[in-house]
């Protein structure tokens, strides 16, 4: 077990409104080189959990442990190691990359901060390697991100996260902002990187078909609580909770006959 989330609870305070509790007693584990999907509708708390796992916000209740480090209270050397080994990729590659930095600066920033490559030449070499690995052309190293498409920017964001050899990659809706024809490229890249680098991936998404494709373990959230967790086969083959079943039944299928049949069946059920 690499990371464990134990009974965490979190409230948001928006004065003068009373505090709203957004996470209730959430627990799960992340094992080495496994891909976990956190799924739920908007407002279910899935992004809040991701933020807690990255120590971007701190839960008031419970604890989070990463490889012996108490994440919520980590400081100094512990926090530095945690920051190096747990990385993130965000939804919007237009907003998450500084437009004033070149691709080399963006991807190499982590190496500089964590003092992993002492010389500029070594950093440049490492950035080139990384670009190649995620399917970018190293010749584009000195360009700025404005000339890159959404899919290429997300590749830059992934390279930036992976360059310092993290053990966990937390991705918050990494393909939701991309064009449909480009989403598959990024999904395949994440899958490929996970296998190649024996990386653990925590994948936050609302699209169940994408999650099914990428993750072997699924955690379903509803109103800030875990309603079901299980392996891919358990979850998609035999969902236990009515909420999960209704979620699965509503996923559109890109096939006119199957799509219509599913819809008819569902409406019959609601009518009865």
């Amino acid at each position: 077990m690499l990371m464990s989330i134990d009974h965490i609870g979190k409230s948001y305070h928006a004065f003068p409104n009373p505090p709203t509790k957004v996470l209730h007693d959430v627990s799960f584990n992340v094992d080495t080189s496994e891909a976990i999907g956190l799924v739920g509708e908007s407002g279910s708390g899935k992004s809040t959990i991701a933020k807690c796992m990255l120590q971007l916000i701190r839960p008031e209740e419970g604890s989070i442990t990463y490889d012996g480090i108490d994440v919520i209270h980590a400081r100094g050397e512990d926090l530095r190691r945690f920051r190096r080994e747990v990385q993130m990729v965000f939804q919007d590659p237009y907003g998450s990359l500084n437009p004033r930095m070149t691709v080399e600066e963006l991807i190499g920033e982590g190496l500089l901060i964590h003092k992993l490559e002492p010389t500029a030449a070594a950093r440049r070499r490492r950035v080139a390697e990384m670009m190649e690995m995620v399917g970018l052309n190293p010749d584009d190293m000195d360009r700025y991100t404005r000339s890159f498409s959404g899919g290429q920017r997300q590749r830059i964001a992934i390279a930036r996260a992976l360059v310092i050899n993290p053990r966990i990659l937390v991705c918050d809706e990494p393909v939701a902002a991309l064009d449909v024809s480009v989403q598959a490229q990024v999904i395949n890249l994440l899958q490929d990187m996970q296998k190649k680098l024996s990386l653990s991936i925590v994948f936050v998404a609302h699209d169940l078909a994408v999650v099914r494709h990428l993750c072997e373990k699924i955690i379903v959230l509803h109103k800030g609580a875990v309603v079901e967790q299980g392996t891919r086969d358990e979850f998609f083959g035999n969902p236990q909770m009515p909420y999960t079943q209704s979620l699965l039944a509503a996923v559109p299928v890109p096939d006119p006959i199957a799509g219509r049949a599913r819809r008819a069946a569902r409406r019959l059920e609601t009518a009865n």
Partner: protein
């Protein structure tokens, strides 16, 4: 054209679009960019058509051109609505079509509703503008909300949007569009901002209303999955051009254009085997950098000699129309 007979829709045409071009100003300069580059299609009375495309494909601008919503857009071609060329009307005359003959629902119901106006007033507004009396407008508004399954609609006419859930708000927006009894409803990504379960309810609702009223629907989306169970016909746009148009069953099971084929294979499905997803290489081009010939050719695995030079025409093959040199048998 020998296939002409096959192509004639079973339904009488309601809207016929011919060689539609939409040019948008480039920044503040006098230059214009051609976003929609010569689109032809027909929508029959009561027909449900999906217009599918990625960002920058021109799908929204094509639909918005039907109502002439973009003041800065330069439109050319012909848009025939039940015998009238909408592009020839004055601004005043087109105003009479908006909301009454053609209505539109947008992506985000939250930003479409006025937070300071009651639901009843907002739904009735379309009618009030047309001179319908207050009591009559309210009555008809109530009838539409009832039809759309808003619970206790009579009591809630005086509520405000914030008192409604996301799905209910989308019903209110739909009621605003339907109260003028349009013959064509343009739905621009109406379910994109919604969670899957709510998305589903909205689709069921559109399904019912369209069937009951004989309402034609033009459904704009980037998500092929959403339209499979809803539309009768699918039109696919790429870089400002229509590249495929066919019945939903044939487009999904036997897509003709390599782009449509790729798009269908690239979407992960909840009911199919896992494995590496097929990915179309590259990214959709921006309108300013539209490739020569067939705009898809740099990404196409099946490209051959004429593709980068000659723009393929949209030709009929049976009941499908497709713009691809692979299917162009004229020269062969």
């Amino acid at each position: 054209m020998p296939d002409k007979k096959d192509m004639t829709p079973v339904r009488a045409p309601l809207v016929t679009v011919e060689n539609l071009m939409v040019d948008m100003p480039l920044g503040r300069s006098d230059k214009h960019v051609r976003i929609v580059d010569g689109v032809d299609f027909t929508i029959g009375v009561g027909e449900r058509v999906a217009l599918v495309g990625e960002s920058g494909s021109g799908k929204s601008l094509t639909a918005r051109a039907l109502m002439r919503l973009d003041r800065l857009a330069r439109l050319s071609g012909r848009i025939d609505f039940d015998g009238t060329d909408l592009l020839k009307l004055s601004d005043r005359e087109i105003g009479k079509y908006r909301g009454s003959s053609i209505a539109m629902v947008f992506q985000d119901p939250m930003s479409f509703l006025d937070p300071l106006m009651t639901i009843g007033d907002q739904v009735a507004e379309t009618l009030r503008i047309r001179g319908v009396g207050r009591a009559e407008a309210r009555k008809r508004g109530l009838a539409v909300l009832d039809e759309l399954g808003v619970d206790r609609a009579a009591e809630r006419l005086d509520s405000y949007p914030h008192e409604f859930s996301g799905g209910m708000r989308q019903r209110v927006v739909l009621a605003m569009a339907l109260v003028g009894e349009p013959r064509l409803l343009i739905a621009d990504e109406p379910t994109t901002a919604l969670d899957v379960r709510v998305q589903d309810q909205v689709l069921d609702l559109l399904d019912d209303v369209s069937a009951r009223r004989g309402l034609a629907v033009l459904f704009i989306t980037h998500d092929l999955g959403v339209v499979a169970g809803f539309a009768e016909r699918v039109m696919v746009m790429y870089s400002g051009r229509l590249i495929e148009d066919g019945e939903v069953a044939s487009v999904f099971t036997r897509p003709s254009h390599p782009y449509t084929q790729g798009l269908i294979k690239a979407v992960p499905r909840i009911d199919q085997d896992l494995g590496t997803l097929y990915a179309i290489p590259g990214a959709p081009p921006p309108p300013l950098a539209r490739p020569s010939g067939c705009a898809f050719h740099p990404r196409c695995e099946k490209r051959f000699a004429p593709c980068d030079r000659e723009q393929p025409a949209l030709l009929s093959i049976g009941r499908t129309r497709v713009a691809c040199h692979l299917h162009d048998k004229r020269g062969v």
